[in-house]
């Protein structure tokens, strides 16, 4: 016996599907449009622009991937930019002090340890003192701002550097390949932990309803700390990838990353309040859309000083589209 659906039911189910996936559709449509514009306006420098997009987006993608765990819980971390700055400076100092590949390895390991410590601090203090996570990350932001200035003051210069040949392949194609491999590896790892382990399940649960999750027997304190530490790992990797790009760092390195991460995740369809609709793909889709948009506006001839205004306008439109209509708040 076959069941037949009438056209009205079909239409209703289609509308229901649209309603359910409006954020995903908006996010992927945004990426598709920016990609099409990229191909149309890339012109004679299409290949160069593609490399630029890859190199610019790589550190942001990696950090945003880690941020998925934090944002899934409905939390955020505003200290990430200053952390990136300090980590880059520390890595350069250690590499210059130790020298060679050993210096690079030691520098990265030192930064990784510090990032894990900061992640644990961020998660634990917020829970133990019952503070909103943004408050502890604000503390870390001010702490790292001070540390960044002090470290640079100690060098007596505005910028310190290491040869990029120590950090990445000199050949551009090889460098781009390394970037792709790092992005793929981090994406696979984050996807695995998010979809197939308790970490992803519990962080989304905390974002959806922390009380219910706790009453289900989940140690939410522990998983919050682990989520922040996972974010820390990605911040350390992202800082290294950013350093690969310029080989230098200074007082302003990392500025704006916290806001960029938030914008990228929202553009990618991540609900700011976290919960079960949080997805790893938000980091990839959002960051690529954001970076491609900048490139598109540039190649389309928009005044470079006006690009931020255009991006702000597009951002607010997306927020309005994806905003939950009843409560007038961001989607959950």
């Amino acid at each position: 016996m076959s069941t037949k659906t009438n056209p009205a039911e079909k239409q209703n189910s289609f509308l229901a599907f649209l309603g359910k996936h409006v954020y995903d559709i908006a996010a992927y449509a945004g990426l598709a449009v920016t990609l099409i514009l990229f191909l149309i306006f890339g012109g004679k420098r299409l290949s160069y622009n593609a490399q630029t997009v890859l190199q610019t987006s790589a550190p942001t993608i990696i950090i945003a991937l880690g941020a998925v765990f934090v944002y899934s819980m409905g939390y955020m971390d505003v200290s990430v930019g200053q952390q990136v700055g300090v980590y880059a400076i520390l890595m350069i100092m250690i590499i210059n002090a130790v020298g060679g590949v050993l210096g690079v390895i030691l520098g990265f390991l030192a930064v990784l340890a510090l990032a894990l410590l900061c992640g644990a601090f961020n998660g634990a203090v917020a829970v133990w003192l019952k503070l909103p996570s943004i408050v502890t990350s604000l503390f870390l932001m001010f702490f790292f701002t001070g540390a960044q200035l002090l470290l640079m003051e100690s060098t007596g210069t505005n910028s310190i550097s290491v040869p990029t040949s120590l950090l990445r392949p000199a050949n551009r194609s090889a460098y781009n390949l390394v970037l792709v491999l790092i992005i793929v590896a981090v994406t696979l790892a984050v996807t695995y932990f998010s979809r197939f382990t308790k970490l992803g399940k519990y962080t989304r649960g905390i974002g959806a309803n922390e009380t219910a999750t706790a009453q289900s027997g989940v140690n939410t304190t522990k998983w919050k700390v682990i989520a922040y530490m996972a974010f820390g790992v990605c911040v350390a990797i992202g800082s290294y990838v950013m350093l690969m790009r310029t080989g230098s760092a200074g007082k302003g390195t990392g500025t704006g990353y916290a806001m960029d991460i938030m914008i990228c995740l929202i553009l990618g369809g991540m609900p700011l309040s976290g919960g079960m609709k949080s997805k790893v793909s938000s980091a990839l889709v959002g960051t690529l859309t954001y970076v491609l948009l900048t490139n598109d506006l540039t190649t389309m001839g928009v005044d470079l000083n006006m690009i931020n205004f255009v991006k702000a306008a597009i951002f607010i439109v997306i927020i309005l589209i994806t905003c939950r209509k009843h409560g007038g708040v961001l989607p959950r």
Partner: protein, 390 residues
Amino acid sequence: MKQFTKSLVALMLVFVMALGCMSVASAEPKHAKIGVAFYQDTGYAVTATKAYLESLSDALNVEFVYAVLTQTDESANLSTIQNLISANVDGIICTMDLGTNSIIEECEMAGVYLAGYLCDYDTSYTQNYDRVFKSEYFLGTATDGQNPDDTTIGTTMFNSLLEYNARAEKPLTHVSMAIFPVWAFPSQMTGAQQFVEAVEEYNKTAETPITVDPLDEEVDVLMFSPMDTTYFAKHPGIEGIISFAAGTSFVYPVMVQAGVDKDIKLFTTGFEGGEENNFGTKGTQTFQQNMVSAVESVTYPLVLILNKINGVDFPDMPEAAERISTSQFCINSDEDLDVFVHSIYYTGNAADAMFTPDQVLNMTAFGNPDATYAGLRDILAHMTIEDIAK
């Protein structure tokens, strides 16, 4: 036969005209797109530079796109340069030496020429000379005044002080100084030492010697922010401040705040607007000297980039890129100020520029086969405040 001759003459005329058109076309500069990355997006120098460049666009067949760099973030600066390259520029005029290693690598990859303006590129010069100055894509820079190897600003400041003392009822006998950090402007430290030496030499024979407070690392080195309010407590009894750093932005507001702007005279680099109300014999008479880099100095990087784009070099073009000192206007008196307010720097009007578009075209290797690199350097090194009136 007559008809045939007429036809032949007509054909020859057409041929000659066509040849003429072709030769005119070949003399026409290639269309170029140049990115200009400023250190900030407002201010007299930025407005005037944009006006000057735009006035040259038709004669040199060039269009300009503008961007703003950060003073502290190499990665952001690299992104700005990448955006300019994505916008299909053929050359970039850059006003900051931050992240230059990666920027020059980017330019080399994209085949885009880079040259500097209002920047001595000292970090690159001292730490990465081979990587930056010997790159075929880095063409040189016009510094903001003197480059560190060619500093005379200390002597200029001393002469301005003497000139003031000669006309003042109460000459200044006790002054202090302010500079930007050495890593940013090494020439200012050199200038400060030069100033102290000039005063010491003067004091050997002077009836009324001048006292210069030694530089105090804590308060005299301005970190691109207003000077510390303890400056005046650290320098008790001063009658004048010699600010090698931009005094209008970072010294004068603190003087006003401390209520000493009527008692202490300020000699400073830069001109941000508003000084004219309190300059010389006007208003509070705080400002007694301002030094301003000639906006027309941007001609140096522009000409070098356009030469490359047009595939013609000066016969005496140096092998490695150079940094050249550029002219500074020294406003020492009411009369000087009256002249200065007619400069493009002050008016933002390209009609007030020292060079017309044709004159600039004449400085290029593709517009004038006799043009030389030495000639270009010479012209830009000898602009004086007297030339403004011409």
